[in-house]
């Protein structure tokens, strides 16, 4: 058979998937991937990933927004000073509104950008081991590695009650 790069286990239940993950980890597997129709706390626990760096984008985006908002309002007001209602040319209270809105706007967009960056989206190509059922009610665990590891993975999946195990 052709050289498989990975093996996927299709699980009907989240507990089984978790079990599979646990034993993969126990065997020292590092390179595996999990598909699920919905985020499950059980899986999250089992995977125990470290905190997402998206929040940094959020922070810096927001700060940029604030700076930009105030800068723009002040710069344009000073560019052509026109007095209205005897109010100061640089009148802070109204500019706060502008600063606030731009904070939210740029912050939000930066956050989304961050998510796309780290989640590796958009990903229009095929994903190894992906199966449409994973967006319905099945859970998928894909393990990658050399032939030996794959063989082991097959066993693990089968043992943890995979409904189906196949190479990819």
């Amino acid at each position: 058979m052709s050289a498989a790069t990975g093996v996927v286990g299709v699980f009907g239940g989240v507990d089984a998937a978790v079990a599979a993950i646990e034993s993969l980890k126990a065997r020292g597997y590092a390179n595996y991937r999990v598909y699920s129709p919905t985020p499950r706390p059980e899986l999250a626990e089992a995977l125990a990933r470290k905190e997402s760096p998206v929040r940094l984008f959020t922070l810096f985006g927001a700060l940029t927004g604030t700076a930009f908002g105030f800068f723009y309002a002040i710069a344009t007001s000073l560019d052509w000073p026109l007095v209205t209602g005897g109010k100061p040319i640089v009148s802070w209270p109204p500019f706060v509104v502008i600063g606030f809105e731009t904070t939210i706007l740029i912050g939000a967009l930066a956050t989304v950008a961050g998510m796309f960056l780290f989640a590796g989206l958009p990903k229009l190509g095929r994903a190894p081991g992906y199966d449409p059922r994973f967006s319905d009610d099945k859970f998928g665990v894909v393990a990658f590695g050399g032939p030996a590891q794959l063989a082991e993975a097959r066993e693990i999946f089968a043992a943890s009650g995979a409904e189906e195990v196949k190479d990819v």
């Binding site: 919905t38 990933r49 052509w80 109204p94 967009l109 009610d137 009650g161």
Partner: protein, 456 residues
């Protein structure tokens, strides 16, 4: 979502009878995307006709000038601004349900939030039209944006209208993004169950989402932060809108209570609109299993709360007008209640302050038809609230010599109707192209499928 430190507790069992499985969920919800029936097309045709009439009215107004409206100085603002505020208000509950309740982890939002959020986006799209519609020279509307131009003239950041420009456009962008992001996993699910051009479309919209652990991980965080942004945003937007009035010197407008008062009113009207939309939707798509009576009840409770806040605000307004001893305020508010516009004021009070009190009774809270009727009253009442504030305020100002009376004319009403059709058009399109209930989040709140005979 899963990335929450603690998972959302499925409060009561989501459903009395046998819980739908993951597979049921996917199937049932995607069923809503099936090719529409005759009813749908009839409705769509109706909506398009209304929209066309609204467009005609605007063209007519552009050709001959705002004289075609009923504006009668000193009433320089009328139904257009009224309707603008109305739609912005409608928008708010959507964000409230999808963002604020999300942060508060209230489980019941899951069923209704997608609808609410779509409503938000379309309502803002509608509201955004009105400041332009009401301009004397709409073709120069772009001058309010502070874009670099050869004149070297910028826009006046001291003007609440410019705040509006920023607030509304930000709100539209962020809430649209929020809706789109939330859709990604569901669209992926739809993609995997569709063929041909639809599949291509959906894989585009889902950005090739696969639901891998890595994706879910960052997605969850992003969603949390967006919710975090949307929450202060929604509060700020309607505050800014209220400041259009509160920043003015007009008696009856110039009040510090306006920001909270408007936000409460907005959520109030919004929840009303959510019910107005959900009831028929639920019926048409047989979503009774997912959108349940207890969801409506929760909505009713929010309405009851906000209605009480609004009623309190009314009371405060009158009290302060009297207590301040300011002759202009007093005269303005007396005129509001007993002057030429008494009818508008009393419609407003009845619909917003009195009728919602019925919701104290569980019987009424849990009866879908009654809720539907009440929600209609709320929509009417909240439109009139803005009408009362704007029109009676302007009709009875400082200069007694310039007191006057205004009633809208047909082009204004035509555009009002058109705005509802515009909104409905987008909504009708939405429910046929995107799942109106959040698949992945429903699943999340369901007990996960467990395999008998896993490893022991």
């Amino acid at each position: 979502m899963a990335t929450l430190a603690t998972p959302i507790p499925p409060a009561a069992p989501l459903h009395a009878e046998a819980p739908p499985s993951y597979a049921d969920t996917t199937r049932d919800i995607i069923a809503t995307l099936r090719p529409p029936g005759r009813k749908y097309y009839v409705g769509m045709a109706f909506v398009l006709v209304g929209l066309a009439f609204g467009a005609f009215c605007w063209g007519y107004q552009l050709r001959y000038g705002l004289g075609v409206t009923g504006y009668q100085p000193p009433i320089f603002w009328g139904t257009y601004i009224t309707t603008f505020v109305f739609w912005v208000g409608i928008a708010h509950s959507g964000t409230l349900i999808s963002a604020i309740l999300y942060l508060f982890r209230s489980g019941w939002r899951t069923a209704v939030y997608r609808t609410a959020e779509a409503m938000t986006v379309f309502a803002v799209m509608t509201a955004g039209l009105f400041p332009i519609l009401h301009l004397g020279r709409a073709w120069y509307a772009y001058w309010v944006f502070p874009y670099p131009n050869f004149r070297g003239v910028w826009s006046n950041f001291r003007s609440p209208l410019v705040w509006d420009v920023f607030a509304i456009s930000t709100y539209l962008t962020v809430s649209a993004t929020f809706l789109l992001m939330g859709l990604i996993p569901d669209v992926a699910a739809v993609r995997d169950r569709s063929l041909g051009w639809r599949q291509r479309l959906y894989s585009m919209v889902s950005f090739g989402w696969k639901g891998s652990d890595r994706e879910w991980h960052h997605f969850g965080r992003m969603y949390l932060y967006l919710a975090g942004f949307a929450t202060p945003l929604v509060l700020s937007v309607h505050s800014v809108v209220s400041w259009d009035f509160a920043m003015a010197i007009v008696p009856g407008w110039h009040a510090t209570i306006f920001a909270p008062y408007f936000v409460a009113g907005a959520i109030f009207s919004g929840c009303g609109m959510v019910i107005t939309i959900l009831v028929p939707l639920r019926k048409a798509f047989h979503l009774e299993r997912y959108v349940q009576v207890r969801h409506f009840e929760s909505l009713a409770k929010v309405i009851l709360l906000t209605a009480s806040i609004v009623a309190y605000a009314y009371a405060t307004e009158y009290f302060i007008a009297w207590y301040s001893g300011n002759p202009f305020e007093r005269s303005s508010f007396y005129n509001r209640a007993f002057g030429q516009y008494w009818w508008a004021t009393w419609i407003m009070l009845t619909c917003n302050a009195f009728i919602p009190q019925l919701l104290w009774f569980k019987k009424i809270r849990t009866s879908i038809p009654t809720l539907f009727v009440i929600s209609i009253f709320i929509n009417i009442g909240m439109w009139f609230e803005r009408f009362v504030i704007i029109v009676t305020g302007l009709s009875h100002e400082y200069e007694p010599w310039q007191w006057s009376y205004y009633v809208p004319r047909w082009p204004e009403l035509g555009i009002l109707v058109g705005s509802f059709c515009w909104f409905s058009m987008w909504f009708l399109l939405f429910i046929k192209f995107f799942p109106a209930v959040a698949i992945s989040e429903i699943k999340e709140s369901l007990p996960p499928p467990v395999q008998a005979g896993g490893r022991r």
